[in-house]
Structure formats: C-alpha cells, structure tokens
Symmetry: C2
Subunit: 326 residues, 2 copies
C-alpha cells in the first residue's frame, strides 16, 4: 500500500509537502498540487475507499458543496441537511463554493483526502471530468455533474408551467421570464421550457433575459429598471425569489402597480419568503423532501458503492398564491 513517502518520492517533493497538499494547508503552487495528485493517482492512493474498506473506519463526515448559505434558499437547505444528517449520526463539512472553481476543486480534494463518507453537491463551477474522478459517493442537487451522479431536483418543468399559468390567469398578455444563466444539461432549464410550452398553447410569445446568479443585486436592479422602463411587459416570472424582490423594488420606484401593471411570480418559496414576503406569488420547492431524498440515496451509495440508482429523482412543486398575481 502506498505511503506518503512513496508519493513524495514519485512527485519529487517532501512528505511534508504531500501532507500539506492533502490537507490544503500553507501556500502551494498549482504545479506542486498537480504533481502530488498525479502521483497519488499513479500509486492508486485512495484514502477514502481504503478507509471505507476497513470496518468501523467510517468518518461519519459528509461534505456539502453548495453556492453559499448567505442565500436564504441554500441557508434553509443546509440547515435541513445538517439537521437530518445529525439525526443519523453524521456531521457536515460545509463548503460554499460561490462561483470560485478553484475553491470547489480544492474542497473536492480536501474532502477526498479527509475521507468523508460521501458528498452532496449543488454547485457547478467544475467540468464533468473533475466530478468523475472523485471516486466517492456523490448525490447532486439540481445539477448535472456526471453520468453516474444521481440528480435530485424539484419538478422544474411543472414549476415553469405553474408560473406561466398564474401570470396568464392574472391577465398578463406580454409575459417576460428572467432566469439565471442557462446551462447545457441543467435541470433548471426546464423552468424555461415549462413556461414556454404553456405560453405557446395560449398563442402568447415571451421575452427572455438572463441575469447570471453571480451578478450583484445592484447590477441586476439596473437591468431590471431598464427592462421595466423600455418594454411593454405586464407580467414577469423570475426563476428565483430574490430577483422577484428586486423587480418589486424597481417597479415601486417607477410607480408601476403590482399586480395591476406588472404581475409577478418568483421561484423557491423558502420559509423566509413565506414569512417575510407573503405577498409574493411563488413556486415552492419541497426542500425537506429534496434533502430527505438526497440523504437517503447517499447513504445507500455509502453502504453499497455499486448499488444501482436512477439518474433523476424529481419531486413535485407547489404554487403559493400571493397578491403579486390576482
């Protein structure tokens, strides 16, 4: 079995450096990291699978990689994940990957090296190859990561349909959809497809604007203001609630009445939004069910790495009617 010294020798660095790379400690060049990880791969050094193969050597640690808990949606999801894991005797190592690919990559390596039992991932900075290399049980939230990583998501297509229907029944003739960036293979794209399909049935066209998830609220607000000023739109579906709050702000500033002038529908329906913005019509994702499903699948994979799982697990959403559509 390969040791730190073997890896150090092959990589041409000291054992201390290898240890630092594994623990991601101290300042290390990307070149050094790559040398060490190549050596680990060549010598088939797999700290985690090794650990798992030794009875009782499970760490009871789960790595969770998500965009960031300062967003109330991921805040609620992380709180739910932590709570459910705790009840099953697991602890959570949290990584907020934001839109920082290097951080996500470093975390993946740290999680592998620290022998977590499994990973829940819902970030999407890295390419497919990097997730395929991980060699640990992974379950994804709402993102395509790799063919062998099951995706748990809410029914994005149904959500898009419900949003379109509520705008139309509220009298919108010129609806608009504001999404984050649409990515190939991303389940969230179905929100757009569901929206589009319902409008087509009603012979309505729509406009689409993309506001990347990582844009600052100030920049988003500017673009929303431009949109509200220049276009003859009378209904907006935002594929997240926070963007809908910005639309509400800008509409107020421009003296546009909601829902008379502009009907508004958001997406996510967190407890936070339901408590502090009950006026907003939104599509509620079943966060508790999503988390229960992700943890259930992950524990199955941890118990039996070769167990067969579906590629997609889709949970139903709910329309929460507020005063922004009537």
């Amino acid at each position: 079995m390969a040791t730190l010294d073997d890896i150090a020798k092959l990589a041409g660095v000291s054992a201390t450096t290898v240890s630092r790379v594994i623990n991601n400690y101290g300042s290390l060049s990307e070149k050094t990291k790559t040398k060490v990880f190549s050596a680990m791969q060549e010598l088939n050094y797999q700290p985690n699978s090794l650990a798992r193969s030794l009875k009782g050597k499970k760490t009871q640690l789960i790595g969770v990689i998500l965009p960031g808990v300062s967003n109330p949606f991921f805040g609620q999801m992380v709180q739910e994940i932590e709570d459910q894991l705790f009840k099953k005797g697991f602890k959570m190592i949290l990584c907020n990957a934001g839109n920082d690919a290097q951080k996500e990559r470093d975390y993946l390596r740290m999680l592998m090296a620290n022998r977590v039992d499994g990973i829940i991932a819902g970030s999407h900075n890295l390419g497919i190859e990097e997730y395929q290399k991980v060699g640990l049980p992974i379950i994804s939230f709402d993102r395509y990561l790799s063919d062998n990583v099951p995706i748990v998501s809410s029914d994005n297509y149904q959500g898009g349909q419900l949003a379109a229907q509520s705008l139309i029944s509220s009298g919108s003739k010129n609806p608009q959809i504001i999404t984050g960036s649409n990515r190939p293979n991303s389940p969230t794209n179905s929100r757009l497809t569901g929206f589009k399909d319902v409008l087509e049935k009603h012979d309505l066209s729509y406009n689409l604007i993309e506001l990347p998830f990582s844009s600052s609220p100030n920049i988003k607000s500017l673009k929303i203001k431009e949109l509200l000023t220049n276009k003859k739109i009378d209904g907006i579906f935002c594929t997240d609630d926070l963007t809908a709050l910005l639309v509400k702000q800008q509409a107020q500033a421009l003296n546009l009445q909601i829902p008379t002038d502009i009907r508004l529908v958001g997406y996510d329906g967190t407890n936070f939004i339901q408590n502090y913005h009950p006026e907003l019509t939104t599509i509620m994702q079943p966060i508790t069910d999503i988390v229960t499903m992700m943890i259930d699948l992950l524990l199955k994979r941890i118990d039996d790495p070769d167990c067969q799982l579906e590629k997609n697990y889709v949970l139903p959403v709910k329309l929460i009617m507020g005063k922004t559509t009537l």
Copy 2:
C-alpha cells in the same frame, strides 16, 4: 493511556457502545451516554488534547455552533467563517443548534470526540458548566459561555445609542424597543442599555416588549399587531432586522405610514437586508471584522492553549440610514 476497552469496562458497556457514544451513532439512552462520558472523564480520556499533543495530528477541523443558517445574519456569518477558515487551510463542521439544548450538548461531545482543533460558538442553550468542561479552545460570538471563553461582539451599547438617536431625530416622542429574551451576562442586553441611556438624557420614557428569538414569525406578528393597535407609539427599535420587517408588514396592514406615523430601526444590517430592504434604517454589525477577530483568537488558542486573551473584544457598529426614519 486509556483505550476504548478500558472505558467500556468501567462504564459496563461494550466497546462498540463506547464508539457509538463517541460518534453519536445509533439510538442511545441518555443514561448510557452519561455512563460512558463519566468513564472517559474518570480515566482522563481526552481524545483531542491527546491528538494536539502529537505533532502533525491536528485535524484542521473547526466546529461552529450557531443558532441556524436559515437566518440571513447567521447565514452571512457562517459563509464568512467558512471562507476565512478555508483560506487558512481549515474546514468547518457546522452545527445549527436552534433552541435545542440536547442537540447542542450532543454536538459538543461529537466535536470533542472527533478531535476538532477548536470551536466557534454563538448559541446559548447550555449552562456555563457544560462549556467549561469542553477542554478545547473556544471563542464565543456575542454570548457569555464561561469565564475563560473570550467573547467577540459588535458594540451593542453603541448600537442601542445610535438606534435611539435616529428615532429621536426623526421625531419620535413615544419610542418602543422590541428585543429577544434578555439573559443575564448576555452582551446583547447592552443594546437595551444604550437605548435607555439616550432616552433618559432626552427625558423620554420607553416601553419594552420581549419576543423570544425562537418564536415563530406568525406569533411575533400577532403580538406586533396588538402593540401597534393598542399603544400610542410613534417609533420602534427592533434588536434584529427580521422583526423590523414584521413591524413594517403589520404597519402596512393597519394603514400606518412609515416613517410619518411609525419610525422604524432594525439591527444587524446584513448584505441581504441592505440589498433587498434598502429602505430599512438599521445598525450594521461588522460581520467580516467579527469573523476575522474570532478566527485570529481561535488560532492563537489552538497554537498555545495557555495564551492570555481578553474577556471581551468589541467592534464598532454603523448606522445605515434608510427611509424608515427621516
């Protein structure tokens, strides 16, 4: 040196049970846990200090115990903690203790058993004794935990003063303060003291209502409605922003104009509030500075468990003027 078997023998349970207690895995009675932890104490089994005493055996894991990340304030704080720890090569195990004393107790034990290098704690379900027993470096956010645990907080007294001043300059004659539960030794009580002292200087009296942090928003809203209906108040300082949002909601429902009828000041001033509720006058806590200070102190204690630290580290707050006071 005591082994699992020694502890098992003394506690009168199997070694597997001891391991389960340490890892908090499977269903265990409180009685069994107490027996095992007493035996660990009697045999002076200190997994973490042991680990720390062996060079290179640091886990680079930090335990973080806070009320819960679904609250935007703690969400932003946790994101900042994680980000700063990551840059220093540490990973974070997150515990959302809510108001669940048993969960907080179980986590403390798990963190001790799992040999985290240190703990950041800002929850307050447990008595002083339990934090004194931990035997790990701990830094507290805004809570008195034990005499040897340094507290980092924002200047709660100054915050209370600023809130009172902004209500008064905005024309309030009958101000009100809505706080969470006031606890002995809690630094957050100073928000009330600072508020009170400024009012006294202006020969103004005030009313106080306490709404426990753990109350649901619906229950808080009911009490706020009652308050706004029955009392002749014209200004409210809420010691957290979310409660201020509920006041705004209820005032709107009762057709009370803000700030003409009711002046309103919150507390926390998270990025979330500044972005999505820029209208709210609030006292901004310097979250980044607080986190930098907590991590700096914690790493000092980890390097040298006997290093002398102050009891209190107090960082200045800022008044963010919005349209709810004018």
